[in-house]
C-alpha cells in the first residue's frame, strides 16, 4: 500500500483536538475495571502461595466453605484443559496445578457476600505443602545442578545437557567475528545485569464475571485485549467463545502488563459455581507478587572498534529469566540488540530461563531495553577510551537503507540517521556541563507490528459517523481514530464518535500492544471510510442517473467528476445520509485485515545527570527524546508516549527492581519500596518528533509507543558513568551501587 501523497496536506490529522473520553476522565465518571458492579454480586479473593517453590500435597477448603457468607471456592480442578500450550500455562498461572512455582502463585479462590467475608474465608483454607528448593537468579538457574522449576519444557533449540530451566535458545547474526575482532584497534567486553521491573500501571487488575451453568457468560474487565481475554477464558473454562461476551472497561494503564489473564478465569469459575456475579479486584501487593514483571537479565557484550570509531565486530550473549514459565522475550532482545548498527560481523546468542518468579509478561518493547542497554554501554565506553564523540560514532556506524540488519533482513528506508542528526543539531548536545555532571545518549529500536483488526463505520441519518473498533483505548486512541475517519471523510472531527466494541459486536482484534493501534486500527478505519465513500458515490451516481465513474469524492461531498457528468449540485455526507433509506438503506463501511507493514522505529535519547559523589544519588537534569514517529496523528499523544516511555526507562535505570530474599520471597511488593519515578524526581522531558512517513500506511503513520522505553537505560547509565568517572554495569543504578562504584574507583 503506497502512501497517498508523500507531502499530503492534512486538515485534522496532525492537530491537537480534545479527546472524546476526556470529560468523563476529568470528572471521575469514567468507569475503570474496579468501578463496575452488578446487583447481587459476590466478592472474590485469591489465596496465594507463601513459598517460592512447593508441591501442593492437599488443599482442605471445608472450614472456608462453612464460613459465614461463603458461596463458592475454586481450585485448578475447576478448570478445563485447553489445547494450546500457551493457554495451559496461563491457566496454571491463574491457579496452580500441583506445584506452586513462585511467591504469590494463586492456589484457590473464594467468593463471598462481602470483601471481609472473602478475606476471612481465605485464611481458613488449609494447604499442605512440601517445600522444594528454589532459584530466582538467572545465572544460578542455568547451572546444571539448579533446582528445577519445570521439567520437560525446553524447546528443541536448547542443546542437550543444560539445566532443564533453560527453555529456549536463539542465535542471530552474520559475518566473520574472528576476523572482525582481529581487525579492531580496541575491544571492550563487559558483563551486565539488570533487575526485573514491573509495568507499574496505577490500576490493579479488576473484573466482574457472570457465568451461568449453561456456559453463557458476561465478563467486564480492564484489559489490553477483550478478545484475548475471551479466548483464554473460554479455553480455560471449557466453554465456547461465542457464549462469552467480554467488554473492556476503561483501562488504567497496561504497558504490556494487561496482555494476558490472571483473575478473569478465576472470577468466571467462581461465578459459575455460585450462580452469581463475582467481582475480583487485585490488591497492589497481588499485582506485584503475581502479575507482570519483565525479565531480569545477565548479559555479556563484546565490541571491537577501529581508532576512527568504525565497529569491526560485535557479539552479545543474553541470559533472560522470565519467571516460572517459558516465554519468547529473549528472542526479541537478541534481534534488537544491534539493530541500530551497520555491522560486517555480528552475533547475538540468547538463552531463555525459568526461575521461581512470577510469569513474565510483556512490558513495552519486550526484551529490547536490556539488550540495547548492554550494547550502548559498551559503545559509549569505547567512545570514551578512544576519545571519540559518541554521536559521531553512532552516525558513522548507523544502520540505514541497504544495511544488512543484525537480525536478518536488509533495512528499507529507516529514520535512524535523521534522528541522530536531529540530536546532534539540538542545543542540548552542546550545552555546557558542570562538575559531577555527565551526558549520556543511546539509540533505541523496536519492530512495531500491525495485526488483526476490524473496524466498522456507520453513517447516521444526520450525517454524523460512528466508528466501532475493538481495541481498548489506553492513551487517547479514540481521538486519533476519530481524526483519521474525519480526515478521510472530509467532515469535522466532532462529527465522528468512536467506541470500543465488546467481543460479540465486532470481529476479532489483536490486543492493544506492539504500538499497533494507531497504525493498524487507523489503517482499517481509513479503509472502512473509503468503503463508505464508495457506497455514497454509488448512491449519488444512481440518483443523478450517471455512472459511478462519473462522480467523485471531494471535501466531504460527492460531485460530478467533470463537465460530461452534467450539472449537479454537490451532495454532502449529510445530504446523502438523509436519503439513505430511499436509496438502498443504511450506509456503512467496514474493513477487516491482518495488517502488516508497520515499519520499524528508531529513537535517540539525550540526558544530563549529576551524581552526588558522597551519596551516589543521581539527579536527572535535562532529558530530550528524538524519535521518528511517522505521521504524528495527534502530536500531544505522540509526545506523551515519548515522555512516558522515557520516564519508565529512567525508573528502570535508577531505582525500580524486584528484590528477592534468600528465601525466594519478594521483599518489596508495594509502591513504597518498588520505586517508580515521582514528579519531583524529574525534569521536563523535551521531545523532538521526526515525521518520516511510513510507506506501509495510507497517512504514513508509524507506531510510537514501544521505542521510547528502549534508550533510557543506556542513556542514563552512560550519563551516570561519565558523571561518576566509572563505568556502571548493573541496573538499577541505585545510590548504594553508585556509591560503591565511586568508592572502588577512589580506592583504585
Amino acid at each position: 500500500m503506497a502512501l497517498d501523497t508523500p507531502k499530503r496536506d492534512f486538515k485534522i490529522v496532525g492537530t491537537r483536538v480534545p479527546r472524546p473520553d476526556g470529560i468523563d476522565k476529568v470528572t471521575g465518571k469514567a468507569a475503570y475495571g474496579a468501578d463496575i458492579t452488578a446487583t447481587g454480586m459476590l466478592h472474590g479473593r485469591i489465596l496465594r502461595s507463601p513459598h517460592a517453590h512447593a508441591r501442593i500435597i492437599s488443599i482442605d477448603t471445608s472450614a472456608a466453605e462453612a464460613a459465614e457468607g461463603v458461596k463458592a471456592i475454586v481450585t485448578s480442578a475447576d478448570f478445563a484443559t485447553p489445547d494450546d500450550a500457551g493457554i495451559r500455562d496461563i491457566r496454571d498461572n491463574c491457579l496452580a496445578l500441583d506445584k506452586v512455582l513462585y511467591d504469590g502463585h494463586a492456589i484457590a479462590a473464594v467468593a463471598a457476600t462481602s470483601k471481609s467475608a472473602a478475606k476471612a474465608a481465605i485464611r481458613l483454607i488449609r494447604v499442605e505443602y512440601e517445600i522444594l528448593p528454589h532459584v530466582t537468579d538467572v545465572d544460578a538457574a542455568m547451572k546444571p545442578d539448579a533446582p528445577i522449576v519445570q521439567s520437560g519444557r525446553a524447546f528443541e533449540s536448547v542443546p542437550a545437557g543444560m539445566s532443564q530451566n533453560v527453555h529456549s535458545h536463539v542465535e542471530f547474526g552474520h559475518g566473520d567475528l574472528d576476523a572482525g575482532f582481529a581487525n579492531a584497534d580496541k575491544i571492550i567486553e563487559r558483563t551486565f545485569k539488570t533487575a526485573a521491573t514491573h509495568q507499574g500501571y496505577i490500576e490493579p487488575q479488576a473484573c466482574m464475571a457472570n457465568l451461568g451453568a449453561d456456559g453463557r457468560g458476561e465478563l467486564w474487565c480492564c484489559t489490553q485485549g477483550q478478545y484475548m481475554v475471551r479466548e483464554n477464558c473460554a479455553a480455560i473454562l471449557g466453554i465456547e467463545a461465542s457464549q462469552l461476551r467480554v467488554t473492556s472497561s476503561e483501562i488504567g494503564g497496561g504497558f504490556g502488563g494487561k496482555t494476558t489473564t490472571f483473575i478473569e478465569p478465576v472470577a468466571l469459575a467462581l461465578s459459575r459455581k455460585s450462580g452469581k456475579p463475582v467481582k475480583i479486584v487485585m490488591t497492589r501487593e497481588e499485582v506485584f507478587r503475581a502479575t507482570g514483571p519483565t525479565v531480569s537479565t545477565s548479559m555479556d557484550v563484546k565490541i571491537g572498534m577501529k581508532n576512527d570509531g568504525r565497529i569491526t565486530a560485535a557479539r552479545a550473549e543474553l541470559r533472560y529469566q522470565g519467571g516460572a514459565f517459558p516465554n519468547h522475550t529473549v528472542e526479541f532482545g537478541a534481534q534488537a540488540a544491534f539493530a541500530a548498527y551497520d555491522l560486517a560481523a555480528v552475533q547475538t546468542l540468547g538463552w531463555g530461563v525459568m526461575t521461581n518468579r512470577p510469569k513474565e509478561v510483556a512490558y513495552r518493547a519486550p526484551g529490547a531495553p536490556t539488550a540495547i542497554y548492554a550494547v550502548e554501554s559498551v559503545v559509549d565506553e569505547l567512545c570514551q577510551q578512544l576519545n571519540l564523540d559518541p554521536l559521531d560514532v553512532r552516525l558513522l556506524n548507523a544502520a540505514r537503507k541497504g544495511t544488512l540488519s543484525a537480525y536478518g533482513p536488509t533495512f528499507n528506508e529507516i529514520g535512524l540517521v535523521a534522528t541522530l542528526e536531529a540530536a546532534k543539531n539540538h542545543p542540548h548536545y552542546t550545552a555546557p556541563l558542570g562538575e559531577n555532571q555527565g551526558r549520556g545518549l543511546s539509540c533505541g529500536f523496536w519492530f512495531n507490528f500491525g495485526g488483526n483488526t476490524c473496524v466498522s463505520l456507520n453513517l447516521n441519518s444526520d450525517g454524523t459517523v460512528g466508528v466501532v473498533e475493538g481495541n481498548p483505548d489506553i492513551g487517547g486512541s479514540r481521538a486519533s481514530i476519530s481524526m483519521m475517519a474525519a480526515e478521510e471523510l472530509g467532515i469535522p472531527y466532532d462529527k465522528v464518535r468512536t467506541v470500543i466494541a465488546d467481543t460479540t459486536s465486532l470481529g476479532f482484534n489483536d490486543v492493544t500492544d506492539g504500538s499497533r493501534v494507531t497504525f493498524a486500527v487507523g489503517l482499517a478505519t481509513i479503509e472502512a471510510a473509503r468503503a463508505a465513500k464508495n457506497e455514497m458515490c454509488a448512491r449519488v451516481a444512481k440518483l443523478w442517473g450517471i455512472d459511478t465513474d462519473a462522480v467523485q469524492w471531494e471535501d466531504g461531498s460527492v460531485k460530478p467528476a467533470g463537465p460530461n457528468a452534467g450539472e449537479h449540485a454537490p451532495m454532502s455526507i449529510a445530504d446523502i445520509a438523509a436519503i439513505a433509506d430511499e436509496t438502498g438503506g443504511p450506509i456503512a463501511g467496514h474493513h477487516e485485515v491482518n495488517a502488516d507493514g508497520a515499519g520499524v522505529s528508531f529513537g535517540v535519547h539525550l540526558v544530563d545527570t549529576e551524581v552526588d559523589p558522597e551519596t551516589g544519588a543521581t539527579t536527572v537534569l535535562r532529558y530530550t527524546v528524538f524519535q521518528d514517529a511517522g505521521k504524528a496523528v495527534h502530536p500531544d499523544y505522540v509526545e506523551g508516549q515519548m515522555q512516558g516511555g522515557a520516564v519508565q526507562g529512567i525508573g528502570w535505570a535508577l531505582n525500580e527492581e524486584y528484590i528477592y530474599g534468600d528465601d525466594g520471597l519478594l521483599q518489596n511488593a508495594s509502591l513504597l519500596d518498588y520505586r517508580v519515578p515521582v514528579a519531583s524526581d524529574l525534569p521536563n522531558i523535551e521531545t523532538v518528533i521526526l515525521e518520516i512517513p511510513n510507506p506501509g500506511h495510507p497517512y504514513g503513520v508509524r507506531g510510537v509507543g514501544e521505542t521510547p522505553i528502549v534508550p533510557p537505560l543506556a542513556a542514563i547509565s552512560n550519563a551516570v558513568s561519565r558523571a561518576a568517572g566509572i563505568r556502571l554495569t548493573e541496573l538499577p543504578m541505585s545510590p548504594p551501587r553508585i556509591l560503591h562504584a565511586i568508592t572502588q574507583r577512589r580506592d583504585g
Binding site: 534481534q335 518493547a365 537480525y407 536478518g408 533482513p409 507490528f449 495485526g451 504500538s515
Partner: protein
C-alpha cells in the same frame, strides 16, 4: 525457487544451512515446504514465525507473494507490550 534465510539457531534443523532453497510463491507454501523438507523446523513454525520480505515484516499473511526477486528472511513471531 526462492531463497529463505534462517536465523542462527534454526540452521541446526536444516543441515546447518543459512540460506535454504524452497519452491514457494507465497508465505504459506514457504512454511509448508520448510516443514516438509526439514521436519525438525516444524515445531518452531507451528509455534509461530514471522517473515521479512524486502525488510517488511509479516506476522501471518499466508498469501504474501514472494519470488526470487525478494529478500526473504524467517523471523520469530513478533509480540509487543
Amino acid at each position: 525457487m526462492v531463497k529463505v534465510k534462517l536465523w542462527g539457531s534454526l540452521r541446526q534443523f536444516a543441515d546447518d544451512q543459512e540460506w535454504v532453497d524452497v519452491d514457494a510463491s507465497n508465505f504459506k507454501e514457504l512454511l509448508d515446504q520448510l516443514s516438509h523438507l526439514y521436519p525438525a523446523l516444524r515445531p518452531k513454525i507451528e509455534r509461530g514465525v514471522s517473515l521479512a520480505v524486502d525488510g517488511v515484516i509479516y506476522r501471518n499473511a499466508w498469501f504474501t507473494q514472494i519470488s526470487d526477486e525478494n529478500e526473504i528472511v524467517l523471523m520469530p513471531y513478533m509480540v509487543g507490550g
